[in-house]
Symmetry: C2
Subunit: 498 residues, 2 copies
Amino acid sequence: MGFDSETGENKRDGRWNRRALQVSEAQRRVLAAAGRAASELTPLAECGGRRLAESLRATSDWPPFARAGLDGYAVRAADTALASPQAPATLRVTQAVAAGELALATVKPGTAARIMTGAAMPEGADAVVMLEQTAEASAGGEAAVLVKAVASPGQNVAPRGEEFRHGSLIAEAGALLTPGHVALLGTFGYAAVPVYKRPRVAVFATGSELLPVEAPLAPGRIRDSNSAMIAALVRQSGGEPLLCGTLPDEPGAVRKALADAASEADLIITTGGVSVGDYDAMAELLRELDEWKEPEEGAAEATSLASQWSFESHSSLASHSTFEIRSSSESSSLEADSPLEKGSAVNTQWVQAQQQGECMLLFNRVSMRPGSPTSAALINGRLVLALSGNPGACFVGFELFAGPSIRAMQREPSPVPASVTAVLGADFGKGSPHTRYVRSKLRFGKDGRVHADVLAFGKSSMMASLAESDGLAVIPSGSRGAAAGELVKVLLLKRIYS
Amino acid sequence: MGFDSETGENKRDGRWNRRALQVSEAQRRVLAAAGRAASELTPLAECGGRRLAESLRATSDWPPFARAGLDGYAVRAADTALASPQAPATLRVTQAVAAGELALATVKPGTAARIMTGAAMPEGADAVVMLEQTAEASAGGEAAVLVKAVASPGQNVAPRGEEFRHGSLIAEAGALLTPGHVALLGTFGYAAVPVYKRPRVAVFATGSELLPVEAPLAPGRIRDSNSAMIAALVRQSGGEPLLCGTLPDEPGAVRKALADAASEADLIITTGGVSVGDYDAMAELLRELDEWKEPEEGAAEATSLASQWSFESHSSLASHSTFEIRSSSESSSLEADSPLEKGSAVNTQWVQAQQQGECMLLFNRVSMRPGSPTSAALINGRLVLALSGNPGACFVGFELFAGPSIRAMQREPSPVPASVTAVLGADFGKGSPHTRYVRSKLRFGKDGRVHADVLAFGKSSMMASLAESDGLAVIPSGSRGAAAGELVKVLLLKRIYS
């Protein structure tokens, strides 16, 4: 592996002795440790965009009765068997049925009922003839209709249970509720809908160069733009951001701030301070965690460190119970809930650590560009994601770890970003020992193909490309980069697209 | 044109004498009549997903000063011209500069400054050498650094103004604010951001068969699922829904309910009652409007009808002023705001009618399937969209007209749904005299192509396919439909994807 241009790695002290995890393994650890949100009931008209906390089922057949599909006449098909424009069938009209009304009488042979869209089919009738195929008439002084075409049984009728049978599944727990789901839930009488609570996400920035956004610029200083960006990302991932300002400069104060946040929030995101600079407080704190507790070891030492932290919990996480020790058999049902945990025995420890309120380093280096110093830990059982302070790296770190965590807490079955295969728009020449996540804009060609245009201003420290990015092109590690016209994987950035 | 299976058209009375507009012309009328939202200031951390109400510009250069790109040593590149691992340049380290601090002294020839990522470059220095290319040393008892590689001027330095010049555009009015925009706005000190107010959208259902969602089913009746679905769609389009329940059955009461709503809301959406059934109150009201005022005529009669309606306005629309007559030259700037209005002289009349608080039918039939009876009118200058009551048709009508209206009110430059070209997944055999909008799910192939899979349960009356749809495949009018493997246009349904 070559040098590390982001951390300036030179192995001179412990700061640089970080083992880089592959992104997929880092995601696995984070998702296993993310915990699960509690549920709440929300009014139907407000549940769009939330995630369902229980699988819900049809409370009746749908349609609940055979319905007329359009405005016309309900007839017995057999009565029209010989009908044609030249020799229409004449049927006596005995009643009219509006939607919401019930027919007064059975449709007997030789009769018809005027019927409106959505009305329940009268007994006896088995087809609806559209108005255009009819003419009004009278038969012996009574209202009648001339039917000019043969009707087949079932024609223009939506039979009972055509779309849903009573008890069939509407949507599974974890589903993101679309407007179409809302319609179905309304149809089946779910006026209040069980959804997962929005995970509460504490957001801290670190860095003594940071000014509040409202402050005038000062020499050598910049405004904290990451906190507001993270707040927007948290909201668009289904969480509720709690902006906590800037972390203090010394590790003791950082530790206290994070422990306080751990008792209020379900997830903690910090930006900055994770690299190898002389003043990187987050990195120092995470090293300290690492010394107390190696991930591969048992949980015994961790609890002794955890006792330095505060314990009270106001969280919206369901399964979290600080320091309540569970056996691994008790925790196994939780483990099985998360698809990413399957087949990964080692993940049991992250689940246990989360449930037991432990402190534990999950990783402090990831094989990715930008954002290799991205780190994750449990502090009192709460997931802490320490993202890079460089806006580009912070953004990528959020998309790869924080967004997925917020979604996993709400049992989203596929919490990591979905990907598409796209045609790379231009050479991306730089090879790298790490996988690159390159800010791109997707374009849909007239040829039915998806194209990923790599955006300018894509350096880790740069912001100008963030606003336009709707994808991250994944350039595999290796010496050569990727060429224009190659097919590459592009992660879709999940956003409010409206 | 063949028969109309949705309206059962048979020309027996005025109900069926509706002229069908093409979708694009209907959209043009609706967007011209939609009015413009007022603006408000929102805190930076809450502006993600809103639309910018003013074009905003950089308030400084960015970066505001030359910044170190990584942790290392700030040097004069000329001092390293001969450096190599075998013969490193030895530079005296005179200071350390943390991010947020200013250097105490100029970097003079033969000296270097320890520097952290993001710190302002000291005067004199023109390059940063990463730590890996250095070693600590001492020179005459003073701290020094050995630089083992030639540094080029500007290396690892982000020059002042590299990304933005003071005054350059960050984003234009109407832009949907992404997390990346939020980062930029924070950087430039916009703690409060001018965004368009969310348009308030009154939602009514019609139909005496409708029960409230919380009611038990009753024979022949169904629950009102459209209102909640529309509420979810309104929210995901950037509006604020006001659920108004079910419209009464007679036109006089409908007129009063809509007039009351027109004084409170920026847009009114009704579902149901637009077809040719005997009890379709919305259709009757719209015919009445049509008789009062033909779109092609002047505005004189309309104001006399309008006087039947209530006038007080609590709306969040900026430019609306009931009955204040403006000359067409005064209204021309508004007209020019909407890209869809350009080159369409006739649209002036919709703009004027909106501004002057008029009542006017815009259309009551559109050449589309499902949803051909979809209608639009101005009532006291407020846009009323009368969507079909069939859930599928209601959904398509929303996507084609209501979503675009809500976005146009917030000056979204491209308010109608974006489209992609996709490979149709299966034959869609049915020809139609009208353009079909077919519920589809998009799939991204490993070959870089987009595929549109037509969903089952796609009839106008059906709901089961709504939840999964993320596109509407557009099947042009004609006799043959479209075949599997053909390239078709697919409208993207704009959603919260998080």
